[in-house]
Symmetry: C2
Subunit: 640 residues, 2 copies
């Protein structure tokens, strides 16, 4: 898709008339008086959370935003592979793939040894290693990501729309309230001209602050961002420009001899490019705003760095200067460390409210959305009475550790860029090496949750060495048994709050009387300890809480569908129709055999238990019934 040729226009580029792209949106009227979850802030974290909760028609969610309308021009734009996997679960990866720029290679430029006033290309690397994800690393205006969430939200069972022009005044928790009570009272001020000064009061069971680095919710629970103060100013601009720099359509990291660094991020539509420009070292405590830097200053600096190449800026779609250090909050909810055993969280923060850092590694928006994906399903299963409220403690525990790693990474990366700059680009090789080594990290696939009630120990990791417990389920191609469709195994996982068990069969015929798959199905269907029996509400579909999928080693033509265990052909819905999408086979013809790709023990087989946010909870033997039962017993509530 090519667009923005005749100037940047916000909104859906498939709508020809720019005026039609900016539709009025937002919920009308006043906010509801009482909700299960109040989300403050319509950034990536808030929208990820709201869209997840909107999948449940029995959960009452409200999302409010201070701005008067949806975001139209971008800030963040980097979408890691892992985030694309999440977008698939949310149902809009196709649109992002179509519209976004794909980061295929990254190139590195440094001063020419013979003429240091000129830059030369010093290296080029494939941006994402082969096989790391079924999705590419892409770049798309944050505003369009928002639009994707808003569209899914609007169409979802809860039909959610944000309430715009609301400023959070304060929130108060009733300390005497019980766990199911709407204990948090929040006051919102309307700031649109028509309603200016009107105050709305809303009572919520849970409040989530996705309200950015200056989060009012964070302040209300007495938490602070700790860390380095900013000391380096950068400029960023989205431009339509003409240049003879040959890598203008590649992500390119350029280090000049005397003028600092510049980062090229090509943008969607084929013509626009984002340029990050290193501007100046700031004094301690100095704010970049006080330097009165203009867009022309940023362009002039970019031109000096790009020499001998030209840069003629025709239009600036958006620009900004910023200074950001690495800062982190020590806990992401309202429960002090010492009170975890005795108190349940009611207020959470996510995204920039918890962690801020430099944008150049393209991590911020991605980590924020993963925060919200982690919290979203936990709120849903607790509100839906499927899990105990103590599960909510795991949000801060898991995500604060990830944010800590992010901050450390960002500090190290910023240091490398700074030292390379100081060395006049002489450290270009080190920079490139660091970039390659940390590719999995920047792709978002290195997140590794430590053992907890939700994440098992590595006792049986050897049964599936490529499905590392605590990391995201790494999809692989398979063939669906019932219709021979080539699909991705991981795409069975939708953002629907369900746990999944992927049962990888032994080499035997899974339909045979004594097969391990049949024994597992018998256990799940019949045994008193079966988590499927125990935790699936009466009258609900058999896969509505725990969704079993089976993967076979044979070619699909060798297996007899009708002979398979009934649990793999479950009867569902008002008509008791058969769901034919539970069984998969290795894709032997293409050579992508999931058993080989993920190091699965072909003799023993195994079960891989996956959380609703796509993280691997357990690897267990196919007959590890007790382990499976005790895993779910650890945090789930018996179905009514």
């Amino acid at each position: 898709m090519q667009f923005h040729l005749n100037g940047f226009q916000p909104g859906d580029p498939e709508i020809s008339d720019p005026a039609e792209r900016i539709q009025v949106s937002g919920a009308p009227g006043t906010v509801p008086e009482q909700v299960d979850v109040l989300i403050v802030g319509c950034g990536p974290a808030g929208l990820t959370l709201a869209t997840q909760l909107a999948q449940f028609s029995d959960i009452k969610t409200c999302i409010v935003e201070q701005k008067p309308e949806r975001l139209l021009v971008g800030q963040a734009d980097g979408i890691a592979c892992r985030t694309m996997e999440m977008f698939h679960a949310y149902g809009f990866s196709e649109r992002v793939l179509k519209e976004a720029y794909w980061v295929n290679e990254t190139t590195f430029w440094r001063p020419d040894d013979l003429a240091p006033g000129k830059i030369v290309r010093s290296g080029r690397v494939q941006d994402v290693e082969d096989g790391l994800s079924e999705f590419p690393h892409v770049i798309l205006n944050q505003a369009r990501i928002h639009d994707g969430f808003l569209d899914v939200m609007r169409k979802s069972p809860a039909r959610l729309e944000p309430y715009y022009s609301r400023r959070l005044l304060d929130l108060e928790v009733d300390p005497a309230a019980g766990p199911a009570d709407h204990a948090v009272t929040v006051r919102l001020e309307r700031i649109d001209a028509a309603n200016e000064g009107k105050v709305e009061t809303i009572k919520a069971r849970y409040v989530v602050g996705c309200d950015g680095a200056r989060s009012t919710v964070r302040k209300s629970i007495g938490r602070e961002l700790h860390g380095d103060s900013a000391n380096h100013a950068w400029g960023v601009m989205d431009v339509l420009a003409v240049t003879d720099f040959p890598d203008i359509r590649f992500k390119a990291l350029i280090q000049s001899a005397k003028d600092g660094s510049l980062l090229i991020i090509p943008r969607e539509g084929g013509y626009m490019v984002r340029i990050y420009v290193e501007l100046a070292k700031l004094d301690v405590g100095e704010r970049v705003a006080n330097r009165n830097i203009t867009a022309d200053d940023v362009i002039a600096k970019a031109r000096r760095i790009l020499k001998p190449h030209t840069l003629e800026v025709k239009e600036i779609a958006w620009w900004s200067v910023y200074e950001i250090g690495q800062r982190l909050t020590d806990k992401f909810d309202d429960v002090p460390e010492a009170e975890i055993a005795t108190r349940l969280p009611r207020i959470f923060i996510a995204g920039d409210a918890c962690h801020t850092h430099s944008p150049k590694a393209g991590q911020g928006m991605n980590v924020s959305m993963q925060d919200a994906f982690n919290l979203g399903w936990k709120l849903a299963v607790v509100i839906g009475k499927r899990c105990a409220p103590s599960l909510l403690h795991s949000y801060s525990a898991e995500r604060q550790a990830v944010a800590k790693e992010l901050i450390d990474f960002d500090r190290e990366w910023a240091g490398i860029l700074a030292s390379a700059a100081k060395a006049g680009g002489a450290d270009a090789a080190r920079t490139q090496d660091y970039f390659v080594r940390h590719g999995r990290y920047t792709a978002g696939t290195a997140t590794h949750y430590r053992p907890s009630v939700l994440t098992g120990a590595a006792s049986h990791q050897h049964l599936a060495q490529g499905f590392v417990i605590g990391t995201r389920f790494h999809s692989a191609p398979v063939i669906r048994l019932a219709d021979a469709k080539p699909v991705h195994l991981g795409h069975a996982a939708q953002a629907d709050g369900r746990f999944r068990i992927y049962a990888f069969s032994r080499a035997e015929d899974p339909a045979a009387a004594g097969s391990a798959i049949r024994a597992l199905c018998d256990f799940l269907t019949e045994a008193r300890e079966s988590p499927v029996k125990r935790y699936t509400p009466a009258g609900a579909d058999i896969d509505s809480v725990i969704d079993l999928r089976a993967v076979f080693q044979q070619d699909h033509r060798e297996l007899a569908l009708a002979a398979m265990p009934p649990l793999l052909l479950p009867r569902k819905g008002r008509y008791d129709l058969i769901d034919y999408e539970k069984m998969f086979c290795s894709d032997l013809k293409s050579g992508h055999d999931v058993f080989a790709m993920r190091g699965i023990d072909r003799e023993a087989g195994c079960m891989v238990v996956v959380r609703p946010d796509q993280y691997i909870a357990q690897v267990l033997p196919l007959d590890g019934f007790a382990g499976l039962a005790s895993y779910f017993d650890g945090f789930m509530l018996q179905a009514r």
Copy 2:
């Protein structure tokens, strides 16, 4: 995507609330008084044509439909690979891929030799041969295909919506009118309750009848459908059912010993299935409607054929009985054969108005849409004064021949099914063999336009043996030079009315001073005879009429972008921005080398000229400047 579990619901399955799926649509008010093109009928042909014309803001199009609203339940549902390629050019293939059922394998069933009252599987074949198209064969409710077109139309430069509840009364051509006049006067009757009986008059330069087998437009130009009368009745139903027939999620062709044939077409959403059931031989002239066949009759027959398998129908989403022979009109416009040299066509017919046949080969909707794709760009370039109006004669010439082939194929296929049925399924092997041999035909890729002013002779076919002149451009994977993105070469072709020249380079460095690619670019940029110079209007982008793309043999890392000829880095739009999407390289890493895949002469290179409807017009030597010029001179008009 899974949906329809709790009953069939029309409309977009991504919208959770079924009531929200059925939005009011259609243009308000009265039709315009004067248009360039009036399209009668909102079926697949009419919508394909309207959507094509809607891409041009300077063409005034009106589309009218007798029904009161958009189609909600389906009739046709088979989407051939070739049609998916067209949907990509129209911009909505992604949505169809996501929502549709994919036909991966077809299975064949026949009576058991030992127990002829039971059916057994006699074979299974891959539905589409490897490499035939980058798209699969899919199945999706015709109504959802309509929605795809309607969405693109609405968002397009012309912002088109159909006018519903209009019945065509009559049309009259002013024989004295000049070629640019609005010579056709059409009267439409409004048939909605609020406007019943109101008559609207509209003057059009061209009228296209996409109004089905009983086409009023066809009758108005005195043409008739000729062919066999119907003599066999079939039932068709879309059902939610429970069965133990194991291939219910495969396309399956079942021949019973005594009860005739049955065809299973699994449907989108995972639960619904379409079943075609052979009912009865009719007497000569007998109409199936007179037999009073009920849905229960159809189900009962299906059950007998499926024995020993069960079939329990839970809900019927749609059903019908029909008898269709193979019928064809001898010409698709209003100009008698004898007057072609002296008269220009003003009235056209497309789709079922021209040809009707049995639905079981899944061809009808596909051929109808290809009719309209063929006509659409021709109308656009003639109305836009880029080509002479005599070009419009080629529509009937090209498409009538295709329809003739379709009728012949359909008759042969119906005959094979009938004789196999008569033989009690004993001819199952012959049926399967025929199915496999005609796979390219049913995939829609066998269409082959004969030499004409639009389609060159085979003089240079040896330069690119895999790009057969007169057939559709068969896409292949390549790597885009400027950003290393893996893309499909054929996806450069959008439905934008432009011709494309794919220049396949010699093994030499294309950037070198004496390279053949550079010589071609010099010719196109400088020579008086250059079709790019001659036919591109002053002030328009250089690629707005003829779009040059180059494909190189080297790995993209070996080539220097900045050294390439300026025509391959064209300056466009109000800012003279550079378009970086004109150059591609072989995808050597994946092993899919387009030069090898399409039999391109590596020493000589070649040019492949592609029409706006994706059909190959010419294969020429890279220095075949005169041939290139004379091709375009044959039908284009000098730019003003």
